[in-house]
Amino acid sequence: MFRRTVMAGIVAASLAASATVCAADETTLRFRLGEDPETLYNVQSISLTVSQVLGTYLLDRLVYLDGEGQPAPWLAESWEVSDDQRVVTFTLVEGILFHDGTPLDAEAVKFHFDAVRDPANASPLLPLIGPLEAVEVLDPRRVRFSFSEPYAPFFNILAQGQFGINSPTAVQEHGNLYGRNPVGTGPYRLASWLPGTEIVLERNPDYRQLRSDAVNPGAPHAERIVLSVISEDGVALAALETGELTSAALQADSIDRFVDDPAFNLVIDRNVRNLVFLEFNQRRAPFDDPAFRRAIAHAIDREAAVQAAWSGYAAPALGPLATGIPGYDAAVSEAYGAHFDPALAQELLTELGWTAASGNGVLTKDGQEARFLVRSYSGFVHIERTLAVIQSNLADIGIRADLELSDWGAFYPSLLANDWDMDLMRWTWNDPNVLTSLFRSPGHREALLADPAIDEVLDRCDQLADPVVRADCVSEAQKLLLEATTIVPILSNWNVIASQANVRDYTLDFLGNLIPGDVWIEN
């Protein structure tokens, strides 16, 4: 359940303890970008940075996700879904203009989706629109989407920055250069972009805030927003300390520095869509046996992983869906998830015929040692620390885990081969169809044995556009995946942001994006 993260109403007696080098303009906010967006034309990119910059500041969407993760009206004031769930007709809000004065109408919406579907663009967004067949303009305010079959993730997809609506006039005018000159209907418009250095945004004074999860119903408070490209975390922290950054996301190791400092406020977004989990290569014994997988699952100490990898700023995960994905079922996770119980794990292994006969602490069965290869990707301290906990947990029950880390580019393709036993994976997605993508047999790395029951439920869920009916189906899918112990969910890390103490209404939406128009600075 999403808890809206709101700034505590702490009134600082004075400004930041450390004096700022250059006193920032009070109506200019400065945020960090971890990398320069490669383009700001969403049709050309599926990158999270691009989606975030566009979706937070520049482009509005047809819908947003409310506190329950359900679609709420935004540029579309209402919609109708046909009985067969294959046709969705939106009615747009009247009188909205793009930053260049072009009216937002059905043509503009059609233009965007046609651009995604245009083979000449070879858009990376193509997989996201699923079985979309046609987008038709019924009148200036009504646009119809027709699918060849019901597409359940549609509304979740529409809420993402990748489907913010661009001004067709600007796209046609700028052509190949539109990616450097985005024009939307958002609360801010692009003032300038120094590639690799900063993006400067200026307030859209005519902005109408149509979202009911926003605090400020009118035009944005801050006059300017500067997005500084800072790739090094250490440099970003230094800029936060000196007051040059209004706020910055914190890595786990840095959080304690800011927790009790009255010069800063912490915003913790626990409604996240990432999941770290252990996968099994079911093509190799004994991982083809659900009982063996279950035993491993009971051996994993999630709390220890949360502490070691994220200094406590993460939540242990019992279920195969992250808590921030609509459809996550806490009751099912609790009832069917494998709770940490090493004694039970050992008991299950003994029942399966694994004994400590070798005397070196490693179990054996039929002459085979319980020694297995665990793969994962390098370059991330939290993955390494989680692996260390897993390795230790498995050693406690007599299983020896050999670790093999490589760059993602080498690691991910290597899982297609049949020469590994377990892998530690992390995936971020905002729709329950992630279960289908990853776990419908044969699985995203072709390592899963066929399971007709799971496959049938997953296929059914993806065809249910009605969120209530879909939620029931998704609960069932979670239950089946847990009963089969297809994976061992481990944790989801939180997003922790530190802001200067004089920042007010630092509001995050359901997807964890800032609502920038709300933010203001208290003198």
């Binding site: 004096a19 080098v21 250059c22 400065r30 990398e35 320069d36 490669e38 383009t39 034309y41 050309q44 990119s45 599926i46 990158s47 999270l48 083979p119 070879a122 858009s123 990376p124 967004l125 193509l126 997989p127 996201l128 190949n176 990616g179 120094l194 590639p195 690799g196 250095t197 500084s228 490209v229 800072i230 790739s231 090094e232 250490g234 440099v235 230094a238 800029a239 300390e241 000196t242 040059e244 950054l245 993602w408 580019g409 080498a410 991910y412 393709p413 992390r426 995936w427 971020t428 997605w429 993508s437 990853l438 995203h444």
Partner: protein
């Protein structure tokens, strides 16, 4: 001399072709490419199969590698270094302004390293075996051992966070100061040691003793008589340092967020975007070769006895 220069410039062509060939070969051996990298950790390759095929076809990435190589060479000869799958823009547009930024950083750092390194070396040689000499050489040893990445972060901590003399996110020309200082100081270290060695050798020559006996001032002896003769070794090191500076610039650009080709190259490697990576390698290699040619020409100016033509 002009024949010599022309010959050296023409030699650039096989060097570039060789580099291109090797990078294409490496690309062919790597299992993933820029297109699959687009979807990492978000959409599975199975779900994105149609889009992946379409993007590969658009950028000719579905052709055999020797065909891609031939196409690339033909286009490169006409000044077209391709379009990036990520940015969807011509690579030359991406690299153009960034290359200038890297040159700015490299030459600013070079200027700092020459001024500080050579002056320190001269002083250390002149005050040989004094506390000044020992201090200078100890500090230079520290500089040689110090990783550029770490030194950059230390300077930010000292000047921006503790002393607050400079902002962490500087604007305008000030943005070049810390990055150039970081790189320049590190590169000054070996330069100081080489200058000191060269100067010590020259200062013990007969003609220097004769100049002193004739009553010539020490400053004139140091800068007008000794230094020019010690310069040949120093200039050789400077020439070699360009390569080191370019490489160091890449690291410094990432630390300070300086928008040069180094920062782009790091991103391109993460993206597995070989079009950008190749272009950066080409530009880097071409720069290094051209700078070395300039250094060789500089030799003839320093020592007119050097004549490449006859060799």
């Amino acid at each position: 001399m002009s024949t010599y220069i022309l010959r050296r410039l023409l030699l650039l062509v096989p060097v570039i072709l060789g580099i291109l060939f090797v990078t294409f070969l490496i690309k062919a051996l790597i299992p993933t490419d820029a297109v699959t990298a687009l979807y990492e950790g978000q959409v599975t390759e199975r779900d994105a199969a149609e889009a992946i095929a379409a993007i590969r076809a658009k950028y000719n990435l579905d052709r055999p590698w020797h065909e891609q190589f031939a196409l690339y060479v033909l286009n490169a000869a006409q000044g077209d270094l391709g379009e990036s799958v990520r940015t969807r823009r011509p690579v030359l547009d991406e690299i153009g302004f960034r290359y200038l930024n890297t040159l700015k950083l490299t030459f600013a750092a070079l200027a700092i390293s020459i001024v500080i390194g050579v002056l320190t070396g001269i002083l250390a040689a002149y005050k040989r075996d004094t506390w000044l000499d020992v201090t200078a050489m100890t500090v230079s040893l520290f500089g040689i051992s110090m990783p550029a990445f770490f030194f950059g972060l230390v300077l930010i901590l000292v000047f921006s966070v503790w002393l607050q003399w400079l902002p962490v996110i500087p604007q305008g020309p000030l943005a070049l100061l810390l990055p150039a200082l970081t790189l320049g100081l590190i590169e000054a270290a070996p330069l100081a040691r080489i200058t000191r060695s060269g100067m010590i050798e020259v200062l013990s020559s007969d003609y220097i003793r004769a100049a002193r006996a004739k009553g010539v001032g020490e400053t004139t002896i140091l800068f007008a008589h000794a230094l020019p003769n010690a310069l040949l070794a120093v200039v050789t090191i400077i020439g070699l340092q360009i390569g080191s500076l370019l490489g160091g610039a890449f690291i410094i650009e990432v630390v300070f967020g300086w928008p040069g080709i180094g920062e782009l190259a790091v991103k391109a490697i993460q993206w597995r975007d070989f079009v950008i990576t190749q272009a950066v390698i080409l530009v880097g290699a071409g720069t290094y070769v051209l700078v070395n040619l300039l250094v060789d020409i500089l030799y003839t100016w320093i020592d007119p006895r050097i004549d490449y033509q006859s060799s």
